[in-house]
């Protein structure tokens, strides 16, 4: 293209390049779509031919059958609704104070100096390891399960929120100061929106941890819930319902992350 104009053979080679790129893209998409189907097909085949023990690895089609049976009997609804309720309550109970404490720590150095060592010391302890204490404090009922989830959601959110405030570019703080922002205006116009992107990452992490925790929390002293479904089925050697429980966890994990991504796009439209 010495003279700056595309000549016919250039156009041809550009078209060829474009076609080969498109082909590569189609291949990749097909592979992405095919991988779960492939896995399920192999599983089905191995299970039906008893090459793997069908008691532990029941065929996907029979798991799907159990899935619909459980919907029809209403059993599914009761497990799912109680688990979702616990997750929602625990998630809120953990996130709200975490956001407040994180903002305070990000804004006021003495707060950070005081709370940082406590958080650092408590964070590595898995909340599940504290379940016996939590049960003693909050009883065997709903309280202890909600508190367990809240406790495990709290840490990633508080740490990300504090980091979010601390990472706000100095220049915006100068701008607010120069234009005479009151502490309240600074909080609502600079600290909170400025920390929001990193805070949302913490909340996404918290959501993933909440799902991990609910399953374990419901293995102890629960009569219903997805975690109970998995654990009790396993103990009774009923593997179909156990796999149904695992599918439910996977499904809700995906739904929650979609929901939070949507929320992030609404709350942080400027990124």
């Amino acid at each position: 293209m010495k003279d700056g104009f595309a000549r016919p053979h250039d156009e041809e080679s550009a078209l060829r390049e474009w076609k080969s790129k498109r082909r590569a893209r189609i291949v990749q998409q097909t592979l992405t779509g095919a991988s779960p189907v492939f896995l399920l097909a192999v599983w089905e085949l191995l299970s039906r031919t008893e090459l793997i023990d069908s008691r532990f690895f029941p065929a996907p089609t029979s798991i799907v059958g159990t899935f619909f049976d459980m919907i029809a009997s209403g059993e599914m609804l009761s497990h799912v609704s109680i688990s979702l309720l616990r997750i929602a309550a625990g998630f809120l109970l953990g996130t709200v104070p975490a956001v407040m404490l994180g903002l305070m720590m990000g804004m006021y150095r003495p707060m950070k100096a005081f709370f940082s060592p406590l958080l650092m010391a408590l964070m590595p302890i898995p909340t599940l390891a504290l379940m016996p204490i939590i049960v003693i404090l909050f009883g065997i009922g709903e309280g202890s399960k909600i508190v367990t989830i809240a406790g495990s959601v709290f840490f990633p959110v508080v740490i990300n929120t504090a980091a979010g405030v601390a990472n706000i570019d100095r220049i915006y703080i100068d701008v607010a100061k120069n234009y005479g922002a009151s502490p309240k205006a600074f909080f609502f116009k600079i600290a909170l929106p400025g920390a929001l992107p990193v805070m949302m990452e913490g909340i996404q992490m918290g959501q993933a941890i909440a799902l991990l925790t609910i399953v374990a929390a419901e293995m102890i002293g629960a009569r219903e819930g997805i975690g109970y479904l998995i654990w009790s089925s396993y103990k009774l050697f009923l593997f179909e319902p156990m796999y149904v429980g695992l599918i439910l966890i996977s499904f809700f994990g995906y739904m929650f992350s979609l929901l939070l991504r949507w929320l992030k796009n609404r709350l942080v439209p400027w990124q």
Partner: protein, 267 residues
């Protein structure tokens, strides 16, 4: 210069920074008077403390010694507003919200806020972009937001911290002329910082030359060219070429001198 009508009176300001166990004298004995409506530029090599001086005037730093006074004409007006270097535009506010920032913080009536915001959006050609977030704007457009925000706030004096340093040359010329055009309307007192001699000559009534390590005022130059000025006019004026060389020689001596002394300093 000790006229009673001084808008800003800076009296013996010094600033010391402490780094670990070292203390660094960033500003030494700065005394300066600026008339009402005067456009004054602080010009000097980086590390001469010009930004520190501006930040003191902006209330973002406290002087280690000395003081300054700004004579107020209207108690309702804010004392000063700053046009920051690049990135001073707040990314989570739309263009309109950024321009209205100072006005809203002062809780002015919504009608007045809207009126004044729209006036300066129009002046800076930002009206079509009012609802956009800064990430969608070019560097030049962002700096227009910063300019509109400061002018809309209607302060007693305007502070400008190398507002065009990050722009490409064509955009810089365009924005320099736009800034002068908007400034001509009210001729507020301005303290402007730059390291560009051309820019200083174009915009200033008076250039205050500073040296580094420590930051001191070493000379002053009046620019008596008639206003309104344009880039073209300044460039074609032979007297200005002479002035450029003079200032350049002066700064060169200062930079060389500073280099041979080799002391660290914070800009």
């Amino acid at each position: 210069m000790h006229a009673p009508e001084a808008k800003i009176a800076i009296e013996g300001i010094a600033k010391v920074f402490y780094k670990k166990k070292q203390s660094i004298l960033a500003l030494q004995d700065i005394t300066l008077r600026i008339r009402d409506g005067e456009f004054v530029t602080l010009l000097g090599p980086s590390g001469c403390g010009k930004t520190t001086l501006l930040r003191i005037l902006a209330g973002l730093e406290k002087p280690s010694a000395g003081h300054f006074d700004v004579r107020r004409t209207d108690e309702q007006k804010p004392l000063q507003s700053m046009i920051f270097q690049e990135n001073g535009v707040i990314p989570w506010m739309t263009v309109e919200q950024n321009v209205a920032f100072g006005l809203n913080l002062r809780k002015l009536p919504a009608k007045l806020v809207k009126e004044r915001t729209h006036y300066y959006l129009e002046k800076t050609g930002l009206t079509p972009f009012a609802k956009l977030y800064p990430k969608e704007l070019s560097g030049g457009m962002k700096q227009r937001v910063s300019i509109a925000r400061a002018f809309a706030n209607d302060p007693e004096l305007l502070l400008m911290d190398e507002p065009f340093a990050a722009l490409d040359e064509q955009n810089k010329f365009i924005l320099q002329e736009e800034l002068l055009r908007i400034w001509e309307e009210h001729r507020k007192t301005v303290v402007f910082i730059t390291h560009s001699i051309d820019e200083a000559i174009l915009v200033s009534d008076r250039i205050v030359l500073m040296s580094a390590h420590p930051g001191r005022i070493v000379a002053e130059k009046r620019i008596d060219l008639p206003r309104p000025r344009s880039v073209e006019q300044i460039r074609s004026d032979p007297g200005m070429a002479q002035l450029f060389v003079e200032i350049w020689n002066h700064l060169q001596r200062e930079v060389q001198g500073a280099r041979s002394e080799f002391k660290p300093c914070k800009g």
